[in-house]
Structure formats: structure tokens, C-alpha cells
């Protein structure tokens, strides 16, 4: 039996009140809350062994370096990555995507094609648009269906020997749709195209096996996985990481520097210029341990139960429309009440202590497709409860009554 009471006790923020009401935090797709162990790891780092890593001969530097590299190994194991140096620490998903896009700028030619999906977050659209502008490559978009899923037939027809790269999110942040990335990857590989999967929305819900997926690049952020903000991961197959030029120049990423020529350091340091987010990296490792301690099977089962229950209850309210109704989805419900603006619903819910997201969720192409300015998005984590779903539902009813 999944014990949400003891799990909730791990999260100090869940005990607080907002606008005089107990906080009901349903904006987990934006960022997750942090358990005490992660907060403690941050405090402990700065209290006990703060030092710059990889360079110092002194004890603190060694200790910090060991912990940081230990975190890299935890990430490696968690995602079943072949080699630890295929894990590059980044400041987050957006940074990781930009590193790859920037790297491909030197590999793409005019006439090459890159494919994105219609379900992307702006951060997985704009860097590729910039890349295409720079290189003259053409950007193609996999269309979406009314259910908020990808049109896989159209995707298959889009692939050709011109296709060099495919970028798709594992799970849509705006709708919660789980994309069939196994098929997307294998089909792209049939035409020798590389694939980048944006896992920002996925990794708090499921545990991807990157070797089994055989994906070329996979990126994610720690802060959606109970870790701190400002740190994330770029996984790249060794062969690709060796092929791509470094993103930033600076300390740590060099082997030797003279004014005539600099040789770059080996992986992963080639992509980790400057002093990294040491504390963040270490806390990311702790967050991964915490999630595995709860267990992803249990997390998935509990979140699925919340999703099913919330969907059923929400649809009982007349005039509700849910966006993203594909079979495969995570615990995200994007919806609108007939003739009521999402901003208004979000404002009333906030007054009731309920945190949801409203607006276009940085995915304007999806909103344009449905011809709406935005949606209300409730996203559930493993620490949410059925009782909180009830609070949400009665809040929505209240909002509807006030706003109609």
C-alpha cells in the first residue's frame, strides 16, 4: 500500500498554508517539490565541504569532487547509461538542448532536414529554428491529432535520407501525452538520423532505460525530479559527443592551452566549461536515490490512480473539455471550462490554496491547434492524494459558479 502520509512528511513545503488554506500543489509539471533529504544535502554541502572540484589537491576539493562524480555515477546507473562520461552535467534541459543544437550547426548542410513534433515545448522548438536559420537546413513538424497524440503515419512519410535529426519530447508538458519514442527512434535510425529526446516531463514519472531505447541524446532537468533548479543532464552516445564541438570555452574543458592552439579535454569535461553547479549536481544524485527509494513502479501506479480519478470527477462537471485524451498519458490534465478563461479559473483556485498552471504552457503551437488562448493544467505527483483531487474538483465547481 502506497503511504502518502509518510511520503508527504518528507516534504516540508507541503505542510504550509496559502491564502489561509492548506496548500494543494498541483503544478508538478512546472517543478516538483523537494524532500528534506535533498534540502539537507544542499545545506550539508555548503556547511561541510564546499570547494571547487577537479583541481584542488586539498582535502575539501577532493571530497567535493568525489561526491560530484558519485552523483554522475548515480545518474548513469539510474538511466542505464553505458559510460559515466556520457553523462554531461548542464544547467537544465534547455541548456542541454542548446548544446546539441549548437554542436550540430557545424554538421548540417543546406538541404538537410530536421524533424520536430507539434507537441514540443518552446525550448525544443526555438533552438532548432535557430539551427536551421544558421545552416539552411529545413525544419519539418510531425503533426498532431485531435487526441493530442502524434500522427505517426505522417512521421514515417517525412523520413528520408535528407533527415539528419529528430527531436521529440518523451512526454508533452502541456497535455501529458506519452509519445511512442521507441518507434520514433528506431524509424529515425533506419535513415541514419540522430534522435534527441527531451525527457524533462518524463523522468519524474518513469525510469527510462537509455541503452534499451538506443537513443542518441536524452536530456532532462533535476528540478522536476525532486532535485534543485539549475542543474540537469545531457546524455549523448560517446561517438556523438566526440563528434560535436564544445559548446562553451573556458576552464575545466581544456587539455592544454597556448595562444596558438587549445586542445580540449576528454569527455565529459569537454562540455563542462567553468565551475559547475557542484551542490546542485550532488543534490540531483540524492534526489534520484530518493525517487528510487519510493520506487518508480509504485509512483506510476499511484499517479495513474490519481489521473483516472481526477479525470472521471472532472468530466462530471458540465462544460468541461480535457485536452490530451490519448491512451498513453501521465498524470497531467489540461482542461477548460466552457466560455471561461483559464486565467480566471487559476486565480480563483489560487485563492483556495490550489496551485495549478494556466496559460499556454510554453507550447503555443498546441494552443493554436486547438484554437484556444490556454488551458488550466493540473499535474499530479506521487505525493498528491485523492483528497487533494477532491479539493481541486470542489474548487473548480466554485470557480465555475463565480465566473459563469
Amino acid at each position: 500500500m502506497f503511504n502518502t502520509t509518510s511520503i508527504r512528511a518528507d516534504f516540508p513545503i507541503l505542510q504550509r498554508k496559502v491564502n489561509g488554506k492548506p496548500l494543494v500543489y498541483l503544478d508538478n509539471a512546472a517543478t516538483s517539490q523537494k524532500p528534506q533529504v535533498v534540502i539537507d544535502a544542499i545545506v550539508e554541502y555548503y556547511s561541510n565541504y564546499n570547494a571547487n572540484i577537479h583541481r584542488g589537491v586539498h582535502a575539501l576539493s577532493q571530497e567535493a569532487t568525489d561526491k560530484y562524480e558519485e552523483a554522475r555515477q548515480k545518474i548513469q546507473q539510474h538511466f542505464n547509461i553505458t559510460k559515466a562520461h556520457e553523462v554531461i552535467f548542464t544547467s537544465g534541459t534547455t541548456h542541454a538542448i542548446n548544446m546539441v543544437a549548437n554542436g550540430f550547426a557545424s554538421l548540417l548542410r543546406k538541404g538537410d532536414e530536421v524533424i520536430v513534433s507539434a507537441l514540443e515545448h518552446h525550448s525544443n522548438i526555438v533552438p532548432w529554428q535557430m539551427l536551421c536559420e544558421k545552416t539552411g537546413a529545413k525544419l519539418l513538424v510531425i503533426p498532431m491529432t485531435q487526441e493530442g497524440t502524434l500522427d505517426m503515419k505522417a512521421y514515417a512519410e517525412m523520413l528520408s535520407d535528407k533527415t539528419k535529426l529528430v527531436f521529440v519530447n518523451h512526454i508533452s508538458n502541456a497535455l501529458g501525452t506519452i509519445n511512442p519514442i521507441e518507434t520514433i527512434i528506431s524509424k529515425a535510425h533506419q535513415v541514419d538520423a540522430a534522435v534527441l529526446i527531451d525527457g524533462a516531463q518524463a523522468c519524474s514519472h518513469i525510469k527510462p532505460d537509455l541503452q534499451a531505447l538506443n537513443v542518441d541524446f536524452y536530456v532532462t532537468s533535476a528540478h522536476k525530479m525532486c532535485g534543485p533548479t539549475g542543474v540537469g543532464m545531457l546524455y549523448g552516445k560517446e561517438e556523438w559527443l566526440k563528434k560535436l564541438p564544445p559548446y562553451q570555452g573556458g576552464g575545466e574543458m581544456i587539455a592544454e592551452v597556448t595562444f596558438e592552439k587549445t586542445t580540449y579535454a576528454d569527455l565529459p569535461h569537454k562540455f563542462e566549461a567553468g565551475t559547475p553547479n557542484i551542490c546542485g549536481g550532488i543534490a540531483f544524485g540524492v534526489a534520484i536515490d530518493y525517487l528510487n527509494h519510493i520506487g518508480f513502479k509504485a509512483i506510476e501506479a499511484h499517479e495513474h490512480e490519481l489521473l483516472t480519478y481526477a479525470t472521471k470527477e472532472l468530466l462530471k462537471i458540465p462544460g468541461t473539455r480535457i485536452y490530451g485524451t490519448g491512451k498513453e498519458k501521465t498524470s497531467v490534465i489540461s482542461f477548460n471550462l466552457e466560455n471561461i478563461h483559464s486565467y480566471d479559473v487559476g486565480t480563483i483556485l489560487d485563492k483556495l490554496g490550489i496551485a495549478v498552471r494556466t496559460g499556454h504552457h510554453c507550447a503555443q503551437p498546441i494552443m493554436n491547434y486547438f484554437n484556444i488562448p490556454g488551458t488550466v493544467r493540473a499535474s499530479f505527483a506521487f505525493y498528491n492524494t485523492k483528497e487533494e483531487v477532491d479539493v481541486l474538483i470542489s474548487g473548480i465547481k466554485k470557480a465555475k459558479q463565480m465566473l459563469s
Partner: protein, 142 residues
């Protein structure tokens, strides 16, 4: 016609009658329904004040030395606040609008909606009303 300060005082008294936020919001929503609506033909891109989430259209014209504002919003709570701002600033001289402060928003308990970090475009709307007034003032002084 009452001056800006009097209207602000009226609003503060009106809102002090309500015990809780829900009644205040309901009142604000009903004020939104009485907003002098912008002529639909004027709901064009150049009248649009862009907030991140809700849209606000604002139109101004000058009549007998007074600035007249009409407006609309696609979100009903935003529209309520827009109505309050129009009630305070419309039909006033440019000079009075330029000089007026907006502390009353705080006093009626709606401060959160006029925070610069709130993505509803209301701060921009207030700024735009003042800018119109400055422009009309310059016209009058020519």
C-alpha cells in the same frame, strides 16, 4: 463629475462592505460586466495590451478636455479590474490622470493583480492610460 480621489474613496468604501475575498471578487466581476466596452471595430492589434495570459484592449479619446477610456478583456477577473481602472481614470483631465496615484488598489485588497510580475497585462494597462494622458496633456499645451 467626481474627481479621481473621490471615486477612489467610493471604491474603498464599496469594497469595505465585503467580509471575504469571495464577495470582493464577485463584486469585481459584476463591475466588469458594467465596463464601457470598447467598440468591437477598435479591438485591433494596436489597441491590445499584451499580458502573458489574458488580453486587454484599451482605447482612449479626448472630449471637452477630458480623456474617455473604453476597454475590454477576454478574462472576466481581469475585466473587473480593468473596469475599476476605467471608472477611476475615465472622464478626467489629462493632468489629473498623470498626477493620480494608485494606492487605492492596495486598500481594496486587489494589490496582487497589479504586481509587475503578474502575467495579466494590468500594469501595462495602467502605464498605457498614463501615457495617453501625457500625450493629451502635451496636445493641450501646444
Amino acid at each position: 463629475m467626481k474627481d479621481i480621489q473621490n471615486i477612489q474613496q467610493d471604491l474603498i468604501e464599496e469594497f469595505s462592505l465585503f467580509d471575504d475575498w469571495m464577495e470582493r471578487y464577485e463584486h469585481m466581476i459584476s463591475l466588469g460586466k458594467s465596463l464601457p466596452l470598447i467598440d468591437p471595430s477598435l479591438k485591433t492589434e494596436d489597441k491590445l495590451i499584451k499580458g502573458c495570459q489574458s488580453k486587454v484592449w484599451l482605447h482612449s479619446e479626448m472630449e471637452d478636455g477630458k480623456v474617455l477610456f473604453t476597454a475590454d478583456s477576454d478574462a472576466i477577473i481581469t475585466k473587473g479590474i480593468v473596469a475599476i481602472l476605467v471608472r477611476v481614470f475615465s472622464n478626467q483631465s489629462p493632468e489629473a490622470i498623470v498626477k493620480a496615484d494608485t494606492d487605492f488598489i492596495d486598500e481594496i485588497g486587489l494589490k496582487e493583480h497589479l504586481s509587475p510580475t503578474r502575467a495579466n497585462g494590468l500594469v501595462s494597462m495602467l502605464k498605457q492610460m498614463k501615457l495617453y494622458a501625457v500625450a493629451y496633456q502635451a496636445q493641450l499645451n501646444q
